[in-house]
């Protein structure tokens, strides 16, 4: 379509398979959408090429999977290595890693909300695609854009102050962290907290004020029953660093609780589809498709009984008023993301005030004491598992990673289908339809964007295929 040529679409990257994606919509004889596929067309191979490497290298090696959430991979990988060492890391290291994790969620969520999704929310789903980007936001609502940049900076600078650099720091190591926190860095981070919290609060208010404009989207953006999965603390509270897995059903009732992440393979199945390099996961006891679940901000707020910080808990109560059951529409991922930012800012300030936080004892040393280890944490986009097996020399012999975007693969497909069925009629694609398909993917914040940043090429391609397999229409954005 001519009007879409030369347009840039930015989609956040899919970790491990970051890069190019493709959507195929299958039409039936009456010109209605019958099926939709979200293809991730790139292969990374991290699980394979780490074989033979010393396990001590794994956190930094695995962090290279993603430039946006390297910290999550560092954490999950280091936790898997802690399991190989069979050590309990020093309490201060545990807290510092938690702060690291929270800072990462702030910066990643800020990127997702402000840089990638706020153009849709501010300028509308039917806006000219040449304007729906951060600069468009900067023009229409400079304060919103500025705050987004500031918030991301806040998160990134914490990562830098703790880990030495913003992207791919090597600070998280098996057994703890490599350097303690200095007084100067603690104070500098704390000094930024009030502004960050203010931004988080203001943005939540702004989001709630524009949400009503998107009733049609709320009704169709992945608004269907599914399971939700996330890690919770022993008391059922929200956590990003450590805990047990909980699944709740669409009715909001607990389906499974206290699942040990180390045994993930017992209850999470991974299915390979012939049309995508992204594996789709499902909850085994419910079987393929019925076991579809969602992870990430929406899922975490659906599974958690409470958040644990004062302001975020107030917001959670309001969030649950959206729906008496679990909150089902994936449009609400945005809302959940903003509440999580608020929590992260509140919580990291609490941790920084901890009397132990400046302790110099931040690392446990040991030789490998186990041949197999699983590390899990909540990445910004959902639950992340790293699973390694080593030989007696400490060299990696086998690795498996289950990444947030994979957990959401089934739900993303279903959401695209729902949006397409609602908005695509006939044999012609419209710009508004394409925008909405992209926007529903963005709500999940899959990690797909590094490659689009790299060369400015547009990576979303939508094909409309007729019953005989002929391409009826095509948009390359």
């Amino acid at each position: 379509m001519e009007e879409t040529s030369g347009r840039t679409v930015v989609i956040d990257p899919v970790t491990r398979i970051e890069g190019h994606s493709k959507i195929t919509l299958k039409m039936n004889d009456s010109g209605r959408v019958e099926d939709a596929h979200f293809h991730v067309t790139q292969f990374r191979g991290f699980e394979k090429f780490c074989e033979g490497r010393p396990f001590y290298e794994m956190p930094s090696l695995m962090a290279r999977i993603c430039g946006i959430c390297p910290v999550s991979h560092l954490i999950a990988s280091a936790k898997a290595c802690d399991a190989l060492l069979a050590v309990r890391i020093p309490p201060t290291a545990d807290k510092l890693r938690r702060i690291f994790c929270l800072a990462q969620v702030v910066q990643s969520h800020a990127l997702s909300f402000f840089y990638l999704s706020s153009p849709d929310l501010l300028l509308g789903m039917d806006a000219d695609p040449t304007e729906t980007h951060l600069f468009g936001v900067l023009e229409k609502n400079p304060e919103l854009a500025r705050q987004g940049i500031r918030l991301r900076q806040f998160g990134q600078q914490i990562i830098e102050r703790l880990g030495g650099k913003r992207i791919h720091p090597a600070w998280v190591v098996p057994g703890g962290v490599s350097e303690p926190l200095s007084v100067e860095n603690r104070d500098a981070i704390l000094a930024g907290v009030p502004e960050a919290q203010q931004i988080a609060e203001r943005t939540l208010e702004w989001f709630k004020s524009v949400r009503e404009k998107f009733r049609e989207e709320i009704a169709t953006f992945g608004n269907f029953p599914s399971l939700f999965m996330g890690i919770v603390k022993p008391d059922g509270g929200l956590t990003f660093y450590d805990g047990k897995l909980r699944l709740v059903g669409a009715d909001g009732k607990i389906e499974a609780d206290g699942l040990d992440p180390a045994n993930y393979a017992e209850y999470i199945g991974e299915k390979v589809e012939s049309w995508s390099y992204l594996k789709s996961t499902y909850y085994k006891p419910k079987g393929w498709l019925d076991g579809m679940y969602r992870v990430g901000p929406l899922a975490r707020l659906n599974v958690a009984d409470r958040i644990g910080t004062p302001r975020a808990d107030q917001e959670l109560a309001e969030f649950h008023e959206l729906q008496r059951t679990a909150v089902l529409s994936s449009f609400h991922y945005h809302h959940a993301r903003l509440i999580e930012i608020l929590y992260c800012v509140e919580r990291l300030a609490e941790l920084l005030e901890d009397s132990e936080i400046l302790s110099k004892h931040v690392r446990a040393f040991a030789r490998p004491n186990a041949f197999e280890g699983v590390g899990a944490c909540e990445a910004p986009r959902g639950t992340l598992f790293h699973h390694y097996k080593i030989d007696e020399q400490g060299l990696i012999r086998w690795a498996n990673l289950v990444i947030a975007t994979g957990h959401n693969a089934l739900a993303m497909n279903r959401s695209i289908l729902q949006v397409a069925k609602h908005f695509v009629i006939g044999d012609k694609l419209s710009r508004g339809m394409l925008n909405r398909v992209e926007a529903v993917i963005r709500a999940y914040d899959p990690c797909l964007s590094c490659s689009t940043h790299a060369d400015g090429h547009l990576t979303l391609q939508v094909e409309l295929i007729g019953p005989a397999g002929e391409v009826l229409d095509e948009i390359r954005s």
Binding site: E57, S60, L61, Q393, G394
Partner: protein
């Protein structure tokens, strides 16, 4: 008179120097703050001229001479930094990068690696040759140390320090050409070596992350080499 006869005068980069007869061009350059790159040479060990990075030009010859093993001669005129030498040095270093699998970002020696530092100094931003990506093993059988052949540049410092300083001669080289590998004992796993004393000198003289201490994470392997000149000096005194 014997002292005077043992003194040579020469020019390096158009500057006049005098040196003792047994000294090499590299010795004189180092003493006088003239930079000549090298990776295999290490003060305290014998010189082998393995890395070829210290090649210099000598007036009157078209050949290039490795400064680390070329003794000074009376009236010699040495050029250490011509365009041709820079080109060769860059090529040599680039070839070293292509020969094995050097991935700085996830290396234990990142930020503390002699080859990495030299590449930065020589302003190497790209490698123009295709990488070989050989399949190279990691031997982590030793209780305390690891050898990662992916990062070995065959400088043979480990071989020399083990033989000349420790006196164990655990390390040696096997094979020919592109197939050369450092080996312990008769090509047995390091962990089953009967001659290795576990002193760790080889680890600390290794210019890259090929030899490192177990349990070191990325960028954590700092090498300490100050011991080497002291050890040599003390032994010379004793003799």
């Amino acid at each position: 008179m014997t002292v005077a006869a043992g003194i040579k005068t020469l020019k390096i980069d158009d500057r006049d120097f005098s040196a003792r007869a047994q000294e090499t061009i590299l010795d004189v350059a180092r003493q006088n703050g003239i930079f000549i790159p090298s990776l295999c040479e290490l003060k305290g060990l014998s010189e082998v001229g393995a890395c070829r990075l210290c090649l210099v030009e000598i007036k009157g010859s078209n050949r290039l001479f490795p400064a680390c093993v070329t003794p000074v001669e009376e009236g010699m005129e040495v050029t250490t930094n011509s365009e041709r030498l820079q080109r060769y040095r860059r090529s040599i270093l680039e070839l070293l990068f292509t020969e094995r699998n050097h991935v700085c970002s996830v290396c234990v020696s990142n930020g503390h690696c002699e080859m990495q530092t030299l590449a930065q100094k020589l302003e190497i931003t790209h490698v123009r040759f295709p990488y070989r990506y050989p399949k190279a093993e990691v031997d982590a059988s030793h209780q305390r140390f690891v050898v990662d052949h992916n990062r070995c540049i065959l400088c043979s410092r480990c071989v020399r320090v083990c033989d000349e300083i420790e006196g164990a001669h655990t390390w040696d080289l096997k094979g020919r050409g592109i197939h050369v590998r450092v080996i312990t004992d008769l090509d047995e796993p390091w962990g089953s070596s009967e001659t290795c004393t576990g002193c760790g000198k080889c680890v600390h003289v290794c210019p890259t992350g090929a030899l490192f201490e177990k349990g070191r994470s990325v960028a954590e392997m700092m090498k300490r080499r100050q011991f080497l000149p002291y050890l040599t000096l003390m032994r010379e005194d004793r003799e």
